[in-house]
Subunit: 141 residues, 3 copies
Amino acid sequence: MPLWKVYHPVGAYSAEDKRGLAERITALYSRLPKFYVGVVFQEVAEDAFFIGGQPAKNFVRIWVDHIARTLPTPEMRKWWIEQCDGALAPYIRDRGFDWEFHIDETSFELWSIQGIRPPLANSADEKRWIAENRPSPLTGA
Amino acid sequence: MPLWKVYHPVGAYSAEDKRGLAERITALYSRLPKFYVGVVFQEVAEDAFFIGGQPAKNFVRIWVDHIARTLPTPEMRKWWIEQCDGALAPYIRDRGFDWEFHIDETSFELWSIQGIRPPLANSADEKRWIAENRPSPLTGA
Amino acid sequence: MPLWKVYHPVGAYSAEDKRGLAERITALYSRLPKFYVGVVFQEVAEDAFFIGGQPAKNFVRIWVDHIARTLPTPEMRKWWIEQCDGALAPYIRDRGFDWEFHIDETSFELWSIQGIRPPLANSADEKRWIAENRPSPLTGA
């Protein structure tokens, strides 16, 4: 959690761009272990990418799965979407791309990292995972 | 919303085929702004694509996320699946491919286009987005 | 159902490896028609794949959609995740890769195979689909 999938035009981003954007996305989740944040970029050729039935020459389409946390209120969902748009802006809006993203929330209990079902939010185990930035056996409660 | 991801065998579709199928998919959503409809095609080599543990030489596998609308009743879900199968038929069934698709419904509130959380269904803002086929600042209610 | 998507480093798996892993994944679902199980492998270059903002050189990231069945209790969810980790181990853990996977559960009614909405769990139709390992017209109830 989270997993971000970024569909973008061929050649839209250099290796350095992708790293920069991945760092900005990772920074959004400052309360989580950094290694929870996965980002996969995928180039899509113009003849395989359509928005409204038209070839998408200039479009970045992102989908996200959230697993570790849910956003329980309308206010938090609104706030979060604004945070995401802010994080993306230097690599998308400010470069003249069009864009869209959406987020799904999936089950905390159907998730495994390194053979371990991750610790509960705000638990001592999670704090240790954050501090060490790697998974380790859970000590309980 | 919606995002369609189409996994297909290498060389199954020409650029024109992909455009034709994307247009048919887009036409399914005639009540929505056209630009809501995203379609991404992805070729998958035979050695990377398995159905039932066997290489999928002739299979089209599609997944879809719906965001702007939900299908609230069993009857509507049944009807919608039939509409989708009808839209796909000329490029899948009628060409002798095997196929499967499934749809997930994700949160309306965790969605952003061009930095704007899209307008409510059937609102004046949505009607303008449909008429203009582009996002524009919301005017409210 | 299910659809497994496996993101892995370039060159991590031979064709034979991918087939072997797909077979192990398929075997997890022994109560379902084999052809329900789809697996798509995708190589991701190091400069397009990030975990915690760092290039993922050695990481296998998997997401899964479950459609035909849900896992209704915490105990079953825990058990299932352990089964999955066991199935993956020879091709991931035992080869020294890091990994993460998560599963979403999507609507049984928003699903179609070969133009047919699949039969109910444990129905006579499903039993026939299992026995014949192919979809066929439903006979009812």
